[in-house]
Every structure is written in structure tokens, then in C-alpha cells.
């Protein structure tokens, strides 16, 4: 039966690359998320309150 496992070097590089990319990109995601939160808060703050219905007649 043929051995279809990748060479040890390839497996090792994938293992290292996986964590290296995660370490580099997770902070990017978190930073963008913090930016998104601030953006969300600002939009909520700027939103005009709904107009109040008038009581009674015209």
C-alpha cells in the first residue's frame, strides 16, 4: 500500500506556518473588531431618537 503521508519537512512547515499565521492575523482580527465596536457605538450615539407621536388632535 503506497504511503501517501506528506514528507516530514512539509508537515513541520505546515504546523509552524499554521501557528505563525494565526499569531500574526488574530491581532489583526481583534484590532478590526475593536474598530468595529467603536464604529457601532458612534453610530448608536449619533442616531436620532424617534419622533414622538403627538397626543390629541392635529
Amino acid at each position: 500500500m503506497p504511503d501517501d503521508r506528506p514528507p516530514v519537512f512539509v508537515s513541520f512547515m505546515r504546523f509552524v506556518g499554521r501557528y505563525a499565521i494565526a499569531i500574526a492575523l488574530i491581532p489583526v482580527g481583534v484590532a478590526l473588531g475593536v474598530g468595529g465596536l467603536i464604529q457601532f457605538a458612534v453610530r448608536q450615539w449619533r442616531r436620532k431618537p424617534p419622533a414622538r407621536a403627538h397626543d390629541g388632535g392635529a
Binding site: R14, G17, R18, I21, A22, L25, I26, V28, G29, V30, L32, G33, V34, G35, G36, L37, Q39, F40
Partner: protein, 272 residues
């Protein structure tokens, strides 16, 4: 109709949006229970790597069910992505700001839907399926509200039934291994580099943004935003589809009518 529904009756043929991961592969297995033939559609938007990995599960499905029941197509869609996801990046950033970190996946998925609709109309396939799951509903394109809004539109406008047959599934890797399709049992534990699917350069930030911020902290407003984003993209999708068939001299309304006529025809000859 519920998001996790399967087709209500058997069809001759369906297409499956196929990344090669365990969810889309299990979705294909489910569709093969009610359809005689399934076309696995893998799309290359131009910014993913190792797209050939999708062949692992595709080849396993072909081996198990036969080449007469399963076919695999890898299709480049860089041009479509350019006209849908990257149509007006400046305007998108102004409108959605940081939320584009997550919505980029939505735009990519809509580009894939456009290519699938074209394929289905061209080949007379009335059903499209994907491997969307509730567990990943932080990501806009796998939200129930988004899936249902798109499903209604695709059926009304193109006569294509869109189903997500494994929506409530939580362990597709274990199930796929048990079905004898997957080479390993715990493929869901892989990240960034996968044995059976491509790696997307937007993937990690999008995932972190969606899981940590977009869904849990911003709540239901993200559902509305995602559905609005889709509505905004629909005319662009329609434009791409019309341009494709016009350039080939094909009659789009006739192709839509052909697919519409296929719904409701129960095909009892399909093996379960």
C-alpha cells in the same frame, strides 16, 4: 421552509457549493440521497490558495457513488468577484466600515451563488445546496435570516431551490468519516491549512471579527445589515447573469421557465 430543509422530493440533479471541507462534502452525501446526480462546484475567486485540495473529498465521493452520479468542477470566478464583491470598495468601506471584515465573506459567497445560478440555468439543474451550518452562524452568509432571504429570491427569480441540508449538523467530520468518505475523523480541528480545502487570506481576521465581535456584541442589527448587503448586491448579480446569457444569445426567461417546470415533478426512480 426551514433553513436546514432538504428538498421535499427527489430531483434528477442538484449542484453543491463545494469547498472540499467536511460540511460541503456531507451536504453532497445528503443530496445524493434525494438526487440521482450531484455536481460539486468549487470556485476560485483568485485570493485563495491550495484550491486543488478540494479534490480529496470530491474523488472520494466519485469513488463511493460513481462518476455517473458525482462530478466535480473547479471554476475560476475572479471576474464575477470583481463585479460583485469588489464592485465599489470605497463606497462599501464608507457604508459598512469595519464590518466589511466579515461582510467580505458574504460578498464572496454571493459571487459563488451567481456562478452557481449561471451553471444551474445553463445545465438545467433546479436545486443548489451548500454546507451552511448553524454552528458557524457568526459568519454572515451562514445566518438563517440571510439564507432564507436569498432562498426566496433565487426561487422566485431563477426557479432555483436553495437548500442547506446539514444546517443543524455539529459533527460533519465524524459523520463523513463514518460514511467512508473522509480520510480522517477529526478534520474539523484543522485551521488555516487544511487537508481537504483551500486557505483564504481573508479567513482568519474575518473569523475572529465575526465570532468575537460581529455576532455576539452587535446582536440582531448584524442580521439586518447582512440582509441589506445582499439586497444591495442582487442587482449586480442579476447584471452579471443577464450579461452572461445575452453574450451567448441564450433566452434567460426560457431557461428560468425550464427550471420552474422541474419543481413538483416527483422522480421516484432515484436510489436513496
Amino acid at each position: 421552509m426551514e433553513t436546514h430543509s432538504r428538498p421535499t422530493h427527489s430531483y434528477e440533479q442538484a449542484s453543491v457549493l463545494f469547498s472540499g471541507g467536511t460540511d460541503s462534502a456531507l451536504a453532497a452525501v445528503e443530496m445524493l440521497k434525494s438526487c440521482r446526480k450531484v455536481t460539486l462546484l468549487t470556485f476560485d475567486p483568485g485570493y485563495i490558495f491550495f484550491v486543488e485540495n478540494s479534490r480529496v473529498h470530491a474523488d472520494a465521493l466519485i469513488l463511493k457513488y460513481g462518476a455517473d452520479r458525482v462530478e466535480h468542477v473547479i471554476r475560476p470566478i475572479k471576474d464575477i468577484v470583481g463585479r460583485i464583491l469588489f464592485a465599489d470598495v470605497k463606497k462599501d468601506l464608507k457604508t459598512y466600515g469595519f464590518d466589511m471584515t466579515a461582510l467580505v465573506c458574504m460578498g464572496c459567497r454571493l459571487s459563488m451563488h451567481t456562478a452557481t445560478i449561471i451553471h444551474n440555468l445553463e445545465h438545467g439543474i433546479p436545486v443548489m445546496a451548500d454546507g451552511s451550518i448553524e454552528k458557524q452562524s457568526a459568519i454572515p452568509e451562514q445566518r438563517q435570516a440571510v439564507i432564507e432571504a436569498n432562498r426566496k429570491r433565487y426561487l422566485d427569480q431563477y426557479g432555483i431551490l436553495h437548500v442547506s441540508p446539514i444546517y443543524s449538523e455539529r459533527e460533519s467530520d465524524v459523520k463523513l468519516f463514518a460514511e467512508g468518505v473522509s480520510p480522517k475523523e477529526n478534520l474539523k480541528k484543522q485551521f488555516i491549512f487544511f487537508d481537504t480545502q483551500a486557505t483564504c487570506i481573508f479567513g482568519v481576521p474575518a473569523d475572529v471579527y465575526a465570532r468575537m465581535f460581529y455576532k455576539p456584541l452587535m446582536g440582531a442589527s448584524t442580521d439586518i445589515q447582512s440582509v441589506d448587503y445582499c439586497k444591495e448586491r442582487h442587482p449586480l448579480m442579476q447584471g452579471v447573469i443577464e450579461a452572461y446569457f445575452t453574450s451567448r444569445g441564450a433566452d434567460l426567461p426560457a431557461l428560468v421557465a425550464r427550471l420552474r417546470s422541474m419543481h413538483g415533478q416527483s422522480e421516484s426512480t432515484v436510489d436513496a
